[in-house]
Subunit: 332 residues, 4 copies
């Protein structure tokens, strides 16, 4: 199987489940500065996780219809991660690769502004959807920007994040999932943590010139299909410092930060949205990885013990909080 | 007359007239991020300049009731500039100084949150009000901040300016007015422009450790009592860059900037509010003037011809636009 | 000929000619914060443009040996622009494409840290070099960084730019050159200026997820092979504001800025290095273009007449200054 | 005794002792971006703390000769804190107040650029020097700034701090020392920590419109005359983020930060200079305290337990590290 470099163009959108849809939408519009771009009514919506209504949200710089879907459910967590391919042919190639690798999927056409999606899962069970057809956003008059190279006026409310930047999946087996991204979808691994036992505890992968688009982090609970966080990129580090002030004054819970990650050097702030999902605000400070032969960088346990770039110790909840929440393993 | 250094504590608030009160209020809340803190109904409000309703506005860091009053009137311009004294005795000393210098004034008690004000004018006719009694602001629950050393939660809308920073008066005779500030009110002059003819064309003065609180700029039209601009300070330069983006996307007219002034080194952006008054967003980038014997710095015509700090040429309208608007002088 | 998307990985390095090599090197190290990484002695170095010594410089985030070559010559201007391919096969495909399109080239191996380069020219005569083999930089002890995902310690001197960002070529015929980049090298056009006459006066193109890597701007003088500017990206906009302060205090000439371009939205500052070449400091403020089907955005003359994003008028010398300098056309 | 508000104009300079003078000077010039402005040879310099050579350093915005003195000594710690008065009369008034309060002092004239100083101590034994005469700095050609309202060109090396901002003294009895600052020197208290026992554990005081100039923090070791830290203010928060990057890449130890203090809201980074003294880089983000009747704000133990403004827990060494170092108390 040839490495399918370039068939996945970029992360398209992510779906979050939330037990309090209204509060989660308010967080996204008031705090993040996202814009609601439509909603759909849920189906059966049964007690044990059946989905309720969905609300579609976008950043001011999204060229597509949306980059976030919030869906009512009894527990928080990650739904679909949608990846846009670079062409219809690239989509067909990736579908073929999924199926050649033993995967299965189904075609759906259930999102506004998006054509047919091929829905499958990574080995850990996180739903991935691949698609090509996507309608360019055209702003209504009230949201028209001054500059024609920007899809929408910059929001004057909240942080005003620029884009959905990446998704960090918790997974029982990091390596198996990273290899799915690499071998089946064509991601390039850029950095990883390898424990002294030799096991890969986290890996960062990219489809673009950004240094990462998806991350797998070992789920100490052993559960599958859980989310560590999704991240939105801001224009500047100052946006993140301002966000921290807005957070404390509007009751948004800050878990850790602002600080700079040693791995990937991202400037970060972690908060929880009212549904319980962890959200990162991140800024790459212009760092990009262009080298086509970029060597996978490995961090050891000893190196990780030094904490973040400027010395902040990694907060304990970072190793335990994920969505949906699960009881920690005995002895954990 | 002893130099009354220290009797004026700081600029308290400014009053702007506007022919479109609703639009001016919307600009202040949506763009500047000010908060409305009450309003009063106007009096007779006659045709030629009689005042209409007033709206009181505050920044999140104002400890007083308000720092801006918007008052409906047929033409834009500056109303009262209110200066808080450092004590009741300081107030009485300044009133005495005004009257000893041949000035007149009246005592009024017509603003919410403020005690009695002594209202007089500078030689050019700009109304100045001196006061001591001022009620500390207590935020309602919805605006309560996280930190007890901050009067109000940081707004998540608009620029979120920190304070009314200074007022720049147009004046027919700069020197006479500057001397009023120095000799009668106790301001210290920090910088000035002196033309080759020897005439002082502008002077910057301060009551505080900020490098300026009031400015007089020569009014080429020869009119009296006009306003060049009032300025609000932002927390950071990044706030001003963000403000410029918000301005173009929300239809706020940018006159010039962002750039850095050579004089006083302030980072600036000039916009017009919908009533026609010029508003500066400024950031001092931590610069303060502590020297008690700071020597007045004089800029020559040749030095001014170099433009702003980084080379931007001073925009033509900067020399002509003031409020209320007047016909330019013949040959001007 | 299939569009060769992806064969060019990124801009590798640029060569500038300078009549004052020592001063240009000092500008790069003291002001830009670049690091010298070796030099070579020139060849014959004759009077009319023969090359003298070369100095190789790098940013702290360059994974390759260098991203800038300064070469002594009697007049300033652009020498070689080197583009790294994504593989050896990609290099061979691009060489084949050049020759199928009627171009010619030669193989050289004349730069430290770089393998063989295929040197050809664009239609306007600007030298382009394609290469694959490149040695990863290993910092000496004194320049070792704290984080293993960064090639070199951050300089504590000057601006500390992150990367060579793009090159803006002056060209007699913009469209012919842009089509060379698109059809032969595989660039994607993202934005352009089209005059009312229908002629394309400038086009921005990219090989990466950055919104542009190379630009062609019409040379009003009709000369060929000239440079408008090369640009280095900073980490933040604040770096550019700090750079402007450093510039005025160290005698670096600022041509225009800081401000924000309407086209591509880049935050910019233009200076001249002592050899006479225009250098841009730029910051994209996290903006990237991921859409694989991004539609070429066209700006009209009327739109360009509005000036830059926040209203700054385009400075006159922007239309006339290029290197090497030429006499302006009669009537220009 | 009348409250002597206004007699102390501002913090002038601080003296630090260091067991490694060369390394401490290099830290100040390379990392902080200070400029050496002369040195003096030490006197007898005996074994147990006798002073050796002194080096005088200044920021680019100091109007005086220096704001920091580094003096060779066997152990680190704080020497003299010099406060400039607002006039000769103010100086005499404060000397009288010191002596009326039972203090003693001596007149010396031992610093370049400074006239006679009255040297006394606070109750805890920290040396304070009061002075009025001070020579304005005139930059040599090589350090001449572009703007005449700035004393010196901005350094292109290191952080480039703007001013010595404040000193934080460790003291056995916070209240007694704070009252010395208030009653004898005329400082205004702005914030404090009061333990549940009623004891004041820290108090922040100011002579200016900055929210604090000096701080007393309880020394848990019971020792006297020790230093918690001195602080330099940067122009921006971005300067502090850049400083953190420079620190890790140049081997400067970061103790904690960057983060935002809850008390006083200062954005901070704490590092140790090679002599062992703690140095803060701080940025007030435009916050100033103008209210002449600002009410002393009291933080309780419960409020302090919440950590810093954005949730960072106060680091343990913050409660133990001071200079000179002492053995912690038994059971501490």
């Amino acid at each position: 199987m040839t490495p399918p470099l370039g068939d996945i163009a970029h992360v398209g959108h992510a779906q979050l489940f939330t037990p309090d849809l209204d509060a989660s939408v308010a967080f996204c519009t008031d705090f993040l500065g996202l814009t609601v771009n439509g909603h759909t009514r849920g189906g059966s919506g049964g007690g044990d996780g059946g989905d309720g209504d969905s609300v579609y949200l976008r950043t001011f710089d999204d060229y597509e219809h949306h980059s976030l879907v919030l869906t009512a459910r009894d527990r928080p967590g990650l739904g679909r991660l949608a990846l846009r391919t670079s062409s219809e042919e690239a989509l067909q190639r990736r579908v073929k690769a999924v199926e050649e690798a033993g995967g299965t999927g189904r075609w759906v056409e259930d999102e506004p502004g998006i054509g047919k999606l091929y829905v499958t899962t990574d080995p850990d069970g996180h739903e991935h959807a691949l698609y090509w057809e996507s309608e360019y956003y055209r702003a209504p008059d009230a949201l028209r920007p001054a500059l024609k190279n920007q899809p929408q006026a910059k929001p004057n409310r909240g942080v005003g994040v620029r884009r959905l930047d990446h998704v960090n999946f918790l997974a029982a087996d990091v390596l198996a999932n990273a290899e799915f991204q690499q071998d089946v979808l064509g991601a390039r691994p850029t950095e990883q943590i390898r424990l002294d036992t030799g096991r890969v505890a986290a890996r960062w992968l990219t489809f673009t010139d950004k240094s990462y688009d998806v991350v797998y982090t070992e789920d100490w609970t052993g559960s599958e299909g859980r989310l560590h966080h999704i991240a939105f990129a801001t224009d500047t580090r100052e946006d993140i410092l301002r966000a921290a002030d807005l957070a404390i004054d509007s009751g948004v819970f800050i878990e850790t930060g602002p600080h700079k990650h040693a791995i990937q050097q991202t400037f970060f702030l972690y908060v929880y949205e009212p549904g319980g999902n962890r959200i990162e605000l991140c800024n790459p400070v212009s760092r990009l990885v262009f080298a086509p032969d970029w060597p996978l960088i490995t961090w050891t346990e000893a190196e990780r013990a030094k904490g973040q770039a400027w010395g902040l110790k990694t907060i304990q909840s970072f190793h335990t909080h994920g969505t949906p929440p699960v009881a920690p393993p005995a002895g954990g």
